[in-house]
Symmetry: none
Subunit: 74 residues, 3 copies
């Protein structure tokens, strides 16, 4: 059983990767909701959209990295 | 029991894949909600729709990748 | 108990399949909500409806695939 419990941990980290998609989706969803209500302002907020996506996506990638490290590095 | 615990981990990562669908669905849902209220602006935000879907879908695919790695690579 | 733990993993992945249905349902729900408020615009957004459903459904099918693989391939 040595080293096997790390694979459960990798699965839990994969679960975290999926949860980060909820955050990314929430950012894009609220941008679209606002941009379609007031399209003339959408272009000025595109940079903010990418900042929001980037920070949420980074956490998902960190979680994916934890899964990879648990599988192949520990 | 060697290698079997990795299968629980693969299941947990598969659960994360399903959770990512919530994020993707949220993006598309808000686009549709806004586009049906203001159809004339829908075309200008189609690119943003696909950007939002792509980033959320990517995290779901990372989670699916963790599940596949846990089943067949470790 | 050899091979039995994979069945817990398959159940967890099946749970993810069910969660993906929430995302798909959210897309269709928002389409219906908007289309019934503004029926004249519904036809122009039908393609977007299917795109949104397809991306969310794909993640649910990946999760189902993980469950099938855990039961019959590992």
């Amino acid at each position: 059983m040595e080293g096997q419990l790390a694979h459960i941990g990798a699965g839990l980290a994969g679960l975290g990767t999926g949860l980060a998609a909820l955050g990314v989706g929430n950012v894009a969803a609220n941008f679209l909701s606002g941009a379609l209500r007031n399209p003339s302002a959408a272009a000025s907020q595109t940079a903010t959209l990418f900042i929001g996506i980037a920070f949420a996506e980074a956490l998902g990638i960190f979680s994916f990295l934890v899964a990879l490290l648990l599988m192949f590095a520990v």
